[in-house]
Amino acid sequence: MTQPRLGLPNPGDGLGLREEHFPHLMSTPPEAWGVDWFEAITENLLDNHGWGMRVFEHVAAHRPVVLHGVSLSIGSTAPLDLAYLGKLRDLAERFRPLWVSDHLCWTGVQGVNSHDLLPLPLTEAALAHVAERVRAVQDFLGRPLIVENPSTYLEFRASQMPEAEFLARLCELTGCGLLLDVNNVHVSSFNHALDPMAYIEAIPASHVVQVHLAGPSDHGTHLIDTHDAPVPDAVWPLYAQVWERCGPVATMVEWDASIPAFEVVAAELAKARRVREGLPLAA
Protein backbone atom coordinates (compact mmCIF):
# COMPACT_ATOMS: atom_id res chain seq x y z
CA MET A 1 0.00 0.00 0.00
CA THR A 2 1.32 3.48 -0.89
CA GLN A 3 2.38 5.61 2.08
CA PRO A 4 0.52 8.90 2.57
CA ARG A 5 2.02 11.60 0.30
CA LEU A 6 4.27 8.91 -1.21
CA GLY A 7 6.23 9.15 2.02
CA LEU A 8 7.13 12.79 1.34
CA PRO A 9 6.94 15.31 4.21
CA ASN A 10 4.15 17.73 5.02
CA PRO A 11 5.99 21.04 5.46
CA GLY A 12 2.78 22.90 6.38
CA ASP A 13 1.44 26.09 4.79
CA GLY A 14 3.39 27.73 1.97
CA LEU A 15 3.38 30.59 -0.50
CA GLY A 16 4.62 31.11 -4.02
CA LEU A 17 7.87 33.08 -4.18
CA ARG A 18 7.08 36.20 -6.20
CA GLU A 19 9.27 39.16 -7.19
CA GLU A 20 6.83 41.65 -5.68
CA HIS A 21 7.59 40.18 -2.26
CA PHE A 22 11.39 40.14 -2.56
CA PRO A 23 11.86 43.41 -0.61
CA HIS A 24 9.72 42.11 2.23
CA LEU A 25 11.51 38.77 2.40
CA MET A 26 14.97 40.34 2.31
CA SER A 27 14.19 42.97 4.94
CA THR A 28 12.20 40.81 7.37
CA PRO A 29 13.63 38.12 9.65
CA PRO A 30 12.57 34.64 8.46
CA GLU A 31 10.89 33.95 11.80
CA ALA A 32 8.53 36.85 11.03
CA TRP A 33 7.52 35.56 7.58
CA GLY A 34 4.72 33.44 9.03
CA VAL A 35 5.14 30.93 6.19
CA ASP A 36 6.38 27.36 6.57
CA TRP A 37 7.76 26.83 3.06
CA PHE A 38 7.96 28.37 -0.41
CA GLU A 39 7.30 27.25 -3.96
CA ALA A 40 9.43 28.81 -6.71
CA ILE A 41 8.67 28.75 -10.42
CA THR A 42 11.44 26.65 -11.91
CA GLU A 43 11.76 28.69 -15.10
CA ASN A 44 12.32 31.90 -13.11
CA LEU A 45 15.50 30.38 -11.68
CA LEU A 46 17.03 28.65 -14.70
CA ASP A 47 19.87 30.71 -16.23
CA ASN A 48 19.26 33.38 -13.59
CA HIS A 49 22.38 34.71 -11.85
CA GLY A 50 20.80 37.90 -10.58
CA TRP A 51 18.69 39.17 -7.72
CA GLY A 52 15.97 36.54 -8.18
CA MET A 53 18.48 33.77 -7.58
CA ARG A 54 20.00 35.64 -4.62
CA VAL A 55 16.59 35.91 -2.96
CA PHE A 56 15.88 32.25 -3.63
CA GLU A 57 19.20 31.31 -2.02
CA HIS A 58 18.22 33.32 1.04
CA VAL A 59 14.74 31.82 1.25
CA ALA A 60 16.01 28.27 0.67
CA ALA A 61 18.56 28.74 3.46
CA HIS A 62 15.75 29.41 5.92
CA ARG A 63 12.72 27.44 4.72
CA PRO A 64 11.98 24.26 2.76
CA VAL A 65 11.37 24.93 -0.93
CA VAL A 66 9.75 23.12 -3.84
CA LEU A 67 10.28 23.70 -7.57
CA HIS A 68 7.18 24.15 -9.70
CA GLY A 69 7.61 24.09 -13.47
CA VAL A 70 5.46 25.30 -16.34
CA SER A 71 7.50 24.17 -19.36
CA LEU A 72 8.11 20.45 -18.92
CA SER A 73 5.32 19.79 -21.44
CA ILE A 74 4.89 16.24 -20.23
CA GLY A 75 1.96 15.61 -22.56
CA SER A 76 3.53 16.92 -25.74
CA THR A 77 4.27 14.67 -28.68
CA ALA A 78 7.48 16.67 -29.20
CA PRO A 79 10.59 15.03 -27.72
CA LEU A 80 11.41 15.82 -24.10
CA ASP A 81 13.70 18.85 -23.86
CA LEU A 82 16.83 17.29 -22.41
CA ALA A 83 18.62 20.63 -22.08
CA TYR A 84 15.76 21.90 -19.93
CA LEU A 85 15.70 18.69 -17.91
CA GLY A 86 19.45 18.87 -17.36
CA LYS A 87 19.17 22.38 -15.96
CA LEU A 88 16.23 21.33 -13.80
CA ARG A 89 18.25 18.41 -12.43
CA ASP A 90 21.22 20.70 -11.68
CA LEU A 91 18.94 23.15 -9.90
CA ALA A 92 17.33 20.36 -7.87
CA GLU A 93 20.72 18.94 -6.91
CA ARG A 94 21.87 22.36 -5.78
CA PHE A 95 18.85 23.30 -3.67
CA ARG A 96 17.43 19.90 -2.66
CA PRO A 97 13.75 20.89 -2.97
CA LEU A 98 11.22 18.72 -1.16
CA TRP A 99 9.83 17.84 -4.59
CA VAL A 100 9.64 18.92 -8.22
CA SER A 101 6.26 19.47 -9.88
CA ASP A 102 4.77 20.40 -13.23
CA HIS A 103 1.41 20.12 -14.97
CA LEU A 104 -0.61 17.48 -16.79
CA CYS A 105 -0.53 19.38 -20.07
CA TRP A 106 1.44 20.14 -23.17
CA THR A 107 2.84 23.59 -23.97
CA GLY A 108 3.68 23.24 -27.65
CA VAL A 109 4.95 21.15 -30.54
CA GLN A 110 7.35 21.73 -33.44
CA GLY A 111 9.67 23.74 -31.23
CA VAL A 112 7.05 26.33 -30.27
CA ASN A 113 6.20 27.10 -26.64
CA SER A 114 2.77 28.64 -26.16
CA HIS A 115 3.58 29.23 -22.48
CA ASP A 116 0.09 27.94 -21.77
CA LEU A 117 -0.96 24.73 -20.05
CA LEU A 118 -2.81 23.15 -22.95
CA PRO A 119 -5.24 20.29 -22.32
CA LEU A 120 -4.78 16.70 -23.39
CA PRO A 121 -7.37 14.40 -24.88
CA LEU A 122 -8.02 11.94 -22.05
CA THR A 123 -7.53 8.78 -24.09
CA GLU A 124 -5.85 5.44 -23.49
CA ALA A 125 -3.17 6.38 -26.03
CA ALA A 126 -2.49 9.73 -24.33
CA LEU A 127 -2.29 8.00 -20.95
CA ALA A 128 0.29 5.52 -22.24
CA HIS A 129 2.24 8.38 -23.85
CA VAL A 130 2.27 10.55 -20.72
CA ALA A 131 3.11 7.58 -18.49
CA GLU A 132 6.12 6.75 -20.62
CA ARG A 133 7.36 10.33 -20.39
CA VAL A 134 6.71 10.61 -16.65
CA ARG A 135 8.80 7.48 -16.13
CA ALA A 136 11.56 8.94 -18.30
CA VAL A 137 11.56 12.22 -16.35
CA GLN A 138 11.56 10.41 -13.01
CA ASP A 139 14.49 8.28 -14.12
CA PHE A 140 16.33 11.39 -15.30
CA LEU A 141 15.70 13.40 -12.14
CA GLY A 142 16.03 10.46 -9.78
CA ARG A 143 12.90 11.44 -7.90
CA PRO A 144 9.11 11.17 -8.30
CA LEU A 145 7.50 13.80 -10.47
CA ILE A 146 4.57 15.59 -8.86
CA VAL A 147 1.88 16.24 -11.47
CA GLU A 148 -0.70 19.03 -11.17
CA ASN A 149 -4.22 18.94 -12.60
CA PRO A 150 -4.62 21.94 -14.92
CA SER A 151 -7.52 24.35 -15.43
CA THR A 152 -9.14 23.56 -18.77
CA TYR A 153 -11.47 25.50 -21.05
CA LEU A 154 -12.32 22.76 -23.53
CA GLU A 155 -12.94 19.03 -23.66
CA PHE A 156 -11.95 16.89 -26.63
CA ARG A 157 -14.45 14.67 -28.37
CA ALA A 158 -11.80 11.96 -28.36
CA SER A 159 -11.61 11.78 -24.56
CA GLN A 160 -12.45 8.39 -23.09
CA MET A 161 -12.26 8.98 -19.33
CA PRO A 162 -12.63 11.72 -16.70
CA GLU A 163 -9.50 13.68 -15.78
CA ALA A 164 -9.46 12.31 -12.22
CA GLU A 165 -9.41 8.75 -13.58
CA PHE A 166 -6.62 9.70 -15.99
CA LEU A 167 -4.56 11.04 -13.09
CA ALA A 168 -5.33 8.05 -10.86
CA ARG A 169 -4.21 5.64 -13.53
CA LEU A 170 -1.12 7.75 -14.24
CA CYS A 171 -0.20 7.47 -10.55
CA GLU A 172 -0.71 3.73 -10.66
CA LEU A 173 1.37 3.32 -13.82
CA THR A 174 4.28 5.54 -12.79
CA GLY A 175 4.24 6.05 -9.02
CA CYS A 176 4.14 9.81 -9.58
CA GLY A 177 2.65 12.17 -7.01
CA LEU A 178 -0.14 14.68 -7.40
CA LEU A 179 -0.32 18.39 -6.81
CA LEU A 180 -4.05 18.78 -6.42
CA ASP A 181 -5.01 22.31 -7.43
CA VAL A 182 -8.39 22.77 -5.81
CA ASN A 183 -9.02 25.99 -7.71
CA ASN A 184 -8.36 24.16 -10.97
CA VAL A 185 -10.88 21.49 -9.98
CA HIS A 186 -13.39 24.31 -9.39
CA VAL A 187 -12.55 26.09 -12.67
CA SER A 188 -12.62 23.01 -14.89
CA SER A 189 -15.76 21.67 -13.23
CA PHE A 190 -17.55 24.98 -13.78
CA ASN A 191 -16.35 25.23 -17.38
CA HIS A 192 -17.48 21.69 -18.22
CA ALA A 193 -20.53 21.47 -15.92
CA LEU A 194 -19.00 18.64 -13.88
CA ASP A 195 -19.22 17.76 -10.18
CA PRO A 196 -16.04 18.96 -8.39
CA MET A 197 -16.72 16.80 -5.34
CA ALA A 198 -16.90 13.68 -7.51
CA TYR A 199 -13.55 14.70 -9.01
CA ILE A 200 -11.94 14.93 -5.58
CA GLU A 201 -13.46 11.62 -4.50
CA ALA A 202 -11.85 9.92 -7.51
CA ILE A 203 -8.33 11.18 -6.78
CA PRO A 204 -5.96 8.63 -5.17
CA ALA A 205 -5.49 10.29 -1.77
CA SER A 206 -2.16 8.70 -0.92
CA HIS A 207 -0.52 10.24 -4.00
CA VAL A 208 -1.48 13.83 -3.13
CA VAL A 209 1.62 15.57 -1.78
CA GLN A 210 0.60 19.21 -2.25
CA VAL A 211 -2.49 21.36 -2.63
CA HIS A 212 -2.80 24.64 -4.53
CA LEU A 213 -5.35 27.33 -3.75
CA ALA A 214 -5.93 30.41 -5.93
CA GLY A 215 -8.54 32.82 -7.24
CA PRO A 216 -9.83 32.68 -10.84
CA SER A 217 -11.55 35.40 -12.88
CA ASP A 218 -15.24 35.05 -13.68
CA HIS A 219 -16.15 35.69 -17.32
CA GLY A 220 -19.81 34.79 -16.90
CA THR A 221 -19.84 31.87 -19.30
CA HIS A 222 -16.58 30.50 -17.99
CA LEU A 223 -13.86 30.87 -15.36
CA ILE A 224 -10.22 31.52 -16.17
CA ASP A 225 -7.38 30.49 -13.89
CA THR A 226 -5.78 33.91 -13.50
CA HIS A 227 -4.47 33.73 -9.91
CA ASP A 228 -5.33 37.40 -9.48
CA ALA A 229 -7.89 37.33 -6.69
CA PRO A 230 -8.65 35.82 -3.29
CA VAL A 231 -9.69 32.18 -3.15
CA PRO A 232 -13.43 32.18 -3.98
CA ASP A 233 -16.00 30.96 -1.48
CA ALA A 234 -16.84 27.96 -3.68
CA VAL A 235 -13.30 26.59 -3.34
CA TRP A 236 -13.14 26.41 0.45
CA PRO A 237 -15.64 23.51 0.86
CA LEU A 238 -13.66 21.63 -1.78
CA TYR A 239 -10.47 22.27 0.16
CA ALA A 240 -12.15 20.96 3.31
CA GLN A 241 -13.09 17.83 1.39
CA VAL A 242 -9.52 17.43 0.11
CA TRP A 243 -8.15 17.83 3.62
CA GLU A 244 -10.52 15.19 4.95
CA ARG A 245 -9.48 12.75 2.22
CA CYS A 246 -5.79 13.57 1.76
CA GLY A 247 -4.65 15.60 4.78
CA PRO A 248 -2.48 16.50 6.41
CA VAL A 249 -0.85 17.77 3.22
CA ALA A 250 1.24 20.77 2.17
CA THR A 251 -1.08 23.65 1.27
CA MET A 252 -0.11 26.69 -0.77
CA VAL A 253 -1.75 29.89 -2.05
CA GLU A 254 -0.82 31.09 -5.55
CA TRP A 255 -1.20 34.77 -6.46
CA ASP A 256 0.43 35.70 -9.78
CA ALA A 257 -1.25 38.84 -11.08
CA SER A 258 -2.37 42.04 -9.34
CA ILE A 259 -0.24 40.73 -6.51
CA PRO A 260 -1.03 42.38 -3.17
CA ALA A 261 1.29 42.89 -0.20
CA PHE A 262 2.89 39.81 1.34
CA GLU A 263 0.68 40.14 4.42
CA VAL A 264 -2.47 39.96 2.28
CA VAL A 265 -1.39 36.74 0.60
CA ALA A 266 -0.30 35.31 3.96
CA ALA A 267 -3.74 36.19 5.34
CA GLU A 268 -5.31 34.20 2.51
CA LEU A 269 -3.18 31.26 3.56
CA ALA A 270 -4.38 31.69 7.14
CA LYS A 271 -7.93 31.11 5.88
CA ALA A 272 -6.90 27.59 4.91
CA ARG A 273 -5.95 26.93 8.51
CA ARG A 274 -9.33 28.21 9.69
CA VAL A 275 -11.13 25.95 7.22
CA ARG A 276 -9.19 22.95 8.50
CA GLU A 277 -10.17 23.85 12.04
CA GLY A 278 -13.80 24.25 11.08
CA LEU A 279 -13.79 27.95 11.90
CA PRO A 280 -15.48 30.75 9.92
CA LEU A 281 -13.24 32.26 7.20
CA ALA A 282 -13.17 35.72 8.80
CA ALA A 283 -11.22 35.83 12.05
Binding site: H49, W51, V112, H115, L118, A125, A126, Y153, E155, A158
Partner: protein, 250 residues
Protein backbone atom coordinates in the same frame (compact mmCIF):
# COMPACT_ATOMS: atom_id res chain seq x y z
CA UNK B 1 4.04 8.75 -30.11
CA UNK B 2 0.33 8.20 -30.75
CA UNK B 3 -0.37 9.61 -34.25
CA UNK B 4 -3.83 10.85 -33.29
CA UNK B 5 -2.40 12.79 -30.37
CA UNK B 6 0.30 14.34 -32.56
CA UNK B 7 -2.24 15.38 -35.19
CA UNK B 8 -4.53 16.84 -32.54
CA UNK B 9 -1.71 18.86 -30.99
CA UNK B 10 -0.57 20.11 -34.40
CA UNK B 11 -4.13 21.22 -35.13
CA UNK B 12 -4.69 22.91 -31.77
CA UNK B 13 -1.40 24.79 -31.82
CA UNK B 14 -2.10 26.03 -35.33
CA UNK B 15 -5.58 27.12 -34.25
CA UNK B 16 -4.18 29.05 -31.27
CA UNK B 17 -1.39 30.73 -33.24
CA UNK B 18 -3.78 31.67 -36.05
CA UNK B 19 -6.63 32.48 -33.62
CA UNK B 20 -8.86 30.39 -35.84
CA UNK B 21 -11.64 28.13 -34.64
CA UNK B 22 -11.95 26.43 -38.02
CA UNK B 23 -12.68 22.71 -37.64
CA UNK B 24 -13.01 23.16 -33.88
CA UNK B 25 -16.33 21.28 -33.82
CA UNK B 26 -14.61 18.22 -35.25
CA UNK B 27 -12.37 17.97 -32.20
CA UNK B 28 -13.88 19.93 -29.33
CA UNK B 29 -17.19 19.81 -27.47
CA UNK B 30 -19.32 22.95 -27.38
CA UNK B 31 -22.36 23.69 -25.27
CA UNK B 32 -24.98 26.38 -24.80
CA UNK B 33 -22.52 28.59 -22.92
CA UNK B 34 -19.50 28.35 -25.20
CA UNK B 35 -19.20 26.86 -28.66
CA UNK B 36 -16.21 24.79 -29.68
CA UNK B 37 -14.89 27.86 -31.52
CA UNK B 38 -15.33 30.02 -28.41
CA UNK B 39 -13.33 27.55 -26.38
CA UNK B 40 -10.42 27.63 -28.81
CA UNK B 41 -10.57 31.42 -28.70
CA UNK B 42 -10.14 31.35 -24.90
CA UNK B 43 -6.73 29.77 -25.49
CA UNK B 44 -5.93 31.97 -28.50
CA UNK B 45 -6.67 35.16 -26.55
CA UNK B 46 -4.74 33.91 -23.53
CA UNK B 47 -1.73 33.13 -25.71
CA UNK B 48 -1.57 36.65 -27.17
CA UNK B 49 -2.32 38.36 -23.89
CA UNK B 50 0.43 36.46 -22.07
CA UNK B 51 3.06 37.37 -24.66
CA UNK B 52 1.85 40.97 -24.85
CA UNK B 53 2.16 41.29 -21.07
CA UNK B 54 5.63 39.77 -21.27
CA UNK B 55 6.72 42.46 -23.74
CA UNK B 56 5.03 45.24 -21.76
CA UNK B 57 6.87 44.09 -18.67
CA UNK B 58 10.25 43.97 -20.40
CA UNK B 59 9.78 47.17 -22.42
CA UNK B 60 7.93 49.60 -20.09
CA UNK B 61 9.54 52.79 -21.43
CA UNK B 62 8.87 51.82 -25.03
CA UNK B 63 5.27 50.95 -24.13
CA UNK B 64 4.89 54.34 -22.44
CA UNK B 65 6.55 56.27 -25.27
CA UNK B 66 4.67 54.52 -28.07
CA UNK B 67 1.30 54.44 -26.29
CA UNK B 68 -0.93 51.37 -26.01
CA UNK B 69 -2.19 51.30 -29.61
CA UNK B 70 1.19 51.51 -31.30
CA UNK B 71 2.82 49.19 -28.77
CA UNK B 72 0.14 46.55 -29.30
CA UNK B 73 0.72 46.77 -33.04
CA UNK B 74 4.44 46.27 -32.49
CA UNK B 75 3.76 43.37 -30.16
CA UNK B 76 1.25 41.68 -32.44
CA UNK B 77 3.67 41.83 -35.33
CA UNK B 78 6.48 40.41 -33.24
CA UNK B 79 4.33 37.66 -31.72
CA UNK B 80 3.31 36.57 -35.21
CA UNK B 81 6.88 36.73 -36.54
CA UNK B 82 8.66 35.05 -33.64
CA UNK B 83 6.58 32.59 -31.60
CA UNK B 84 8.42 31.60 -28.44
CA UNK B 85 10.76 28.66 -28.93
CA UNK B 86 12.25 28.63 -25.45
CA UNK B 87 11.28 27.04 -22.16
CA UNK B 88 11.42 30.48 -20.59
CA UNK B 89 9.45 33.64 -21.36
CA UNK B 90 12.61 35.54 -20.53
CA UNK B 91 13.94 34.61 -23.98
CA UNK B 92 10.81 35.67 -25.83
CA UNK B 93 11.66 39.36 -26.18
CA UNK B 94 15.29 38.81 -27.18
CA UNK B 95 14.77 39.73 -30.84
CA UNK B 96 12.24 42.54 -30.36
CA UNK B 97 14.73 45.35 -31.03
CA UNK B 98 16.00 43.65 -34.20
CA UNK B 99 12.43 43.08 -35.36
CA UNK B 100 11.49 46.73 -34.72
CA UNK B 101 14.53 47.88 -36.71
CA UNK B 102 13.73 45.54 -39.58
CA UNK B 103 10.05 46.47 -39.62
CA UNK B 104 10.49 50.26 -39.69
CA UNK B 105 10.27 52.25 -42.91
CA UNK B 106 13.62 52.95 -44.60
CA UNK B 107 15.32 56.10 -43.35
CA UNK B 108 18.35 57.44 -41.58
CA UNK B 109 19.62 55.96 -38.33
CA UNK B 110 18.27 59.04 -36.55
CA UNK B 111 14.84 59.05 -38.17
CA UNK B 112 12.03 59.16 -35.63
CA UNK B 113 10.97 55.69 -36.75
CA UNK B 114 14.29 54.35 -35.45
CA UNK B 115 13.55 55.35 -31.86
CA UNK B 116 11.56 52.21 -30.90
CA UNK B 117 14.34 49.85 -31.95
CA UNK B 118 17.01 51.85 -30.14
CA UNK B 119 14.96 52.13 -26.96
CA UNK B 120 14.04 48.43 -27.08
CA UNK B 121 17.75 47.61 -27.30
CA UNK B 122 18.38 49.47 -24.03
CA UNK B 123 15.47 47.81 -22.24
CA UNK B 124 16.44 44.32 -23.45
CA UNK B 125 19.98 44.95 -22.33
CA UNK B 126 18.74 45.89 -18.87
CA UNK B 127 16.82 42.60 -18.70
CA UNK B 128 19.93 40.66 -19.69
CA UNK B 129 22.09 42.44 -17.13
CA UNK B 130 19.55 41.71 -14.39
CA UNK B 131 20.12 37.97 -14.89
CA UNK B 132 23.78 37.91 -15.93
CA UNK B 133 26.70 36.59 -13.90
CA UNK B 134 27.63 39.52 -11.68
CA UNK B 135 30.47 40.26 -9.33
CA UNK B 136 28.30 40.27 -6.21
CA UNK B 137 29.65 37.71 -3.81
CA UNK B 138 32.96 37.39 -5.64
CA UNK B 139 35.92 36.65 -3.39
CA UNK B 140 37.59 39.95 -2.42
CA UNK B 141 41.11 40.56 -3.73
CA UNK B 142 42.14 41.50 -0.19
CA UNK B 143 40.00 39.50 2.23
CA UNK B 144 39.16 41.25 5.46
CA UNK B 145 39.87 44.71 4.11
CA UNK B 146 37.17 47.32 3.63
CA UNK B 147 36.00 47.08 -0.02
CA UNK B 148 36.67 50.76 -0.75
CA UNK B 149 40.19 50.50 0.63
CA UNK B 150 40.68 47.29 -1.34
CA UNK B 151 39.73 49.13 -4.55
CA UNK B 152 42.25 51.84 -3.80
CA UNK B 153 44.87 49.19 -3.16
CA UNK B 154 43.96 47.53 -6.45
CA UNK B 155 44.48 50.76 -8.32
CA UNK B 156 47.72 51.55 -6.51
CA UNK B 157 49.02 48.07 -7.23
CA UNK B 158 48.24 48.40 -10.95
CA UNK B 159 45.88 45.48 -10.82
CA UNK B 160 44.63 43.93 -14.01
CA UNK B 161 41.09 44.80 -15.01
CA UNK B 162 38.30 42.95 -16.74
CA UNK B 163 34.72 43.71 -17.72
CA UNK B 164 32.19 41.52 -15.85
CA UNK B 165 29.48 39.65 -17.73
CA UNK B 166 26.97 41.98 -16.04
CA UNK B 167 28.17 44.91 -18.18
CA UNK B 168 26.92 45.68 -21.69
CA UNK B 169 28.04 48.53 -23.94
CA UNK B 170 25.72 50.21 -26.43
CA UNK B 171 26.42 52.76 -29.18
CA UNK B 172 23.06 54.36 -29.88
CA UNK B 173 21.89 56.84 -32.55
CA UNK B 174 19.84 58.79 -29.98
CA UNK B 175 20.58 60.41 -26.65
CA UNK B 176 18.18 58.88 -24.12
CA UNK B 177 19.83 60.55 -21.10
CA UNK B 178 16.76 62.47 -20.00
CA UNK B 179 14.46 59.47 -20.34
CA UNK B 180 16.84 57.17 -18.47
CA UNK B 181 17.40 59.70 -15.69
CA UNK B 182 13.73 60.48 -15.16
CA UNK B 183 12.17 57.13 -16.01
CA UNK B 184 9.62 59.08 -18.01
CA UNK B 185 8.94 58.58 -21.75
CA UNK B 186 10.71 61.77 -22.82
CA UNK B 187 11.56 61.74 -26.55
CA UNK B 188 15.32 61.33 -27.09
CA UNK B 189 17.56 63.85 -28.81
CA UNK B 190 18.84 62.82 -32.26
CA UNK B 191 22.47 62.72 -31.15
CA UNK B 192 24.73 59.69 -30.76
CA UNK B 193 25.05 58.27 -27.27
CA UNK B 194 27.46 55.80 -25.74
CA UNK B 195 25.91 53.86 -22.89
CA UNK B 196 26.91 51.21 -20.40
CA UNK B 197 24.34 49.04 -18.66
CA UNK B 198 25.89 47.58 -15.54
CA UNK B 199 24.98 45.95 -12.25
CA UNK B 200 26.40 46.57 -8.80
CA UNK B 201 24.92 45.10 -5.63
CA UNK B 202 22.12 43.70 -7.84
CA UNK B 203 21.08 47.19 -8.96
CA UNK B 204 21.11 47.80 -12.70
CA UNK B 205 22.16 51.24 -13.92
CA UNK B 206 22.34 52.92 -17.32
CA UNK B 207 25.46 55.05 -17.45
CA UNK B 208 26.24 57.51 -20.27
CA UNK B 209 29.89 57.25 -21.28
CA UNK B 210 32.50 59.51 -22.80
CA UNK B 211 34.15 58.02 -25.91
CA UNK B 212 37.41 57.29 -24.05
CA UNK B 213 35.51 55.51 -21.30
CA UNK B 214 33.59 53.45 -23.82
CA UNK B 215 36.77 52.58 -25.71
CA UNK B 216 38.60 51.50 -22.57
CA UNK B 217 35.71 49.32 -21.41
CA UNK B 218 35.31 47.87 -24.89
CA UNK B 219 38.95 46.82 -24.87
CA UNK B 220 38.71 45.09 -21.50
CA UNK B 221 38.43 41.31 -21.74
CA UNK B 222 35.53 39.52 -20.12
CA UNK B 223 37.84 36.89 -18.68
CA UNK B 224 39.78 37.90 -15.56
CA UNK B 225 42.62 35.60 -16.67
CA UNK B 226 43.11 37.80 -19.74
CA UNK B 227 42.84 41.05 -17.81
CA UNK B 228 44.93 44.05 -18.78
CA UNK B 229 46.49 46.85 -16.72
CA UNK B 230 44.55 50.07 -16.40
CA UNK B 231 45.32 52.88 -18.83
CA UNK B 232 46.78 55.84 -16.97
CA UNK B 233 44.06 58.10 -18.44
CA UNK B 234 41.30 56.23 -16.70
CA UNK B 235 42.89 56.12 -13.24
CA UNK B 236 40.86 58.99 -11.89
CA UNK B 237 37.63 57.46 -13.24
CA UNK B 238 38.27 53.96 -11.91
CA UNK B 239 36.76 54.41 -8.43
CA UNK B 240 33.46 55.36 -10.06
CA UNK B 241 33.69 52.58 -12.64
CA UNK B 242 34.40 49.96 -10.00
CA UNK B 243 31.62 51.21 -7.73
CA UNK B 244 29.14 50.97 -10.63
CA UNK B 245 30.26 47.45 -11.49
CA UNK B 246 31.70 48.52 -14.87
CA UNK B 247 35.09 46.97 -14.22
CA UNK B 248 36.60 44.61 -11.69
CA UNK B 249 40.12 43.75 -10.67
CA UNK B 250 41.32 40.39 -11.89
Amino acid sequence: MPPDLAALQDWMQEAILAASGADARDFVHGDNRLTAEDRIQVYARGYRQRLLECLESEYPLLAALAGPTAFQLFAQGYIAAYPSRSYTLYDFGARFADWLDAARPPGSAQAVEAIPGALARIERTKAEVHRAHGIEGAAPAWPGIDPMIAELLAMAAARRWYRPDSVRLLALPFDFSEMLASGEPVPPRPEPMLLAVARANYRVSCLPLEPWQYDWLALLPGDPAQAVPADARVASWLPFAVAQGLAAAG
